[in-house]
Amino acid sequence: MAQVERAAEHYTSTGVHPSKLLMWLFLGSDCFFFGSLIATYQAYRGQSLVGPHPHEVFDIPYTSISAFVLLMSSLTMALAVNSIRLGKMGATRIWLLLTAMLGSVFVGGQVFEFTTFVHKGLTLGVNLFGTTFYVLTGFHGAHVTVGIIILLSLLFASFLGRLTPRQAMTVEVAGLYWHFVDIVWVVIFTVVYLLPY
C-alpha cells in the first residue's frame, strides 16, 4: 500500500517520471534555441563581405577529432546510466568521471580553436561569419560546460552517499541532457564545418 502511494507520488498520470518528462520538455524548448541559432547561421551563410572566411580558418581534422571525442562521451554516459541501473556504483562513478573528462577535452579543444581563430583575425564583430559562428558554437560550449558541472556534481553526490541506485533516474535525466548536447554538435559539425561553402 505504501509502495503504491509512493509510486503515485513519483509518477505523472502518463506513467512517466516527472523529472524525465520535464527534461524532455526542456530539450524540446532547447531545440528552438539551437534551431534559431543554426537557422541564423544558415541564413547568413557565405554572406560575409570581408574575411576571414570559413575555409581560411577551419581545421577539419582537428574538429573531427573533437566531434569524435564528444560522440564517444555519449557512449560513456549511456554506460553510466546502464551501470547505476544495474546497481554497480563503482562502474557508475568511473563512467561519469570519464564522460566529464571527455567533455572537458571537447571544451578545451573549443577554447583552443577559438583562440586560434582570433589570432587569424576572426573576432565576434569582424563579419557575419564571426558573429553567427561564435554565438552558435559558444552557446553549445556553454551547454557542455553546464553538463560537465552536472556530471561532477553527481560524482561528488555518489561519494557522499546521496546518489545510490535508488536515484538512477537522476543519472538518466542528466544523461538525456548530455546526449542532447551531443546531437546538437552532430548537426553543428555537419552544417557549419562540413557542408561546402
Binding site: A7, A8, H10, Y11, S13, T14, G15, V16, H17, K20, L21, W24, L25, L27, G28, C31, F32, G35, S36, I38, A39, Q42, A43, R45, G46, Q47, S48, L49, G51, I60, S64, A67, F68, L71, M72, S74, L75, A78, L79, N82, R85, L86, A168, M169, E172, G175, L176, H179, F180, D182, I183, V186, V187, F189, T190, V191, L194, L195, P196, Y197
Partner: protein, 114 residues
C-alpha cells in the same frame, strides 16, 4: 476518492530496459556512430557535385542524430508521449529554419559572395 482514470505508473516502461545489461548494444551503436563519422569526414574530402555532397552529409548526420536519440536516449523503448514532446518542437523548428532560409534567399544556396 482515488481517481480511476489515471494510468498506472509503469516504472519498467519509464526506465525502458528492465535492468538488462545494455553494454554490448551501446558499444555496437557507438561503433556505428564512429564509422558514420569517418564516412562524413571522408565525404568532405571527396570531390563530388555540391548537391550530392550536401545530401550525403545531411543524411549521415540524420543517421547519427537518430541513433543517439533512439538508443542512447532510449526514445525507441520509452513512453511514446516523450517522442511526441521532443519531435513536435524539432519538426516545427526545422520548418521555421527552412522558412527563414527561404526568406533570406539562402535555401537554394547562391554561393559565397567573396
Amino acid at each position: 476518492m482515488a481517481r480511476t482514470d489515471q494510468k498506472k505508473p509503469n516504472p519498467a516502461a519509464d526506465v525502458g530496459t528492465e535492468q538488462h545489461d545494455l553494454t554490448v548494444t551501446y558499444i555496437r551503436v557507438a561503433a556505428v556512430l564512429a564509422v558514420v563519422t569517418l564516412i562524413e569526414v571522408a565525404t568532405y574530402y571527396v570531390a563530388m557535385a555540391r548537391g550530392l555532397t550536401v545530401s550525403v552529409l545531411l543524411a549521415l548526420s540524420a543517421v547519427k542524430f537518430a541513433l543517439v536519440v533512439l538508443y542512447f536516449m532510449h526514445l525507441k523503448f520509452d513512453n511514446k508521449i516523450l517522442a511526441f514532446v521532443f519531435s513536435g518542437p524539432l519538426l516545427l523548428m526545422i520548418a521555421v529554419g527552412i522558412a527563414l532560409m527561404a526568406l533570406f534567399g539562402t535555401l537554394i544556396y547562391p554561393g559565397p559572395v567573396w
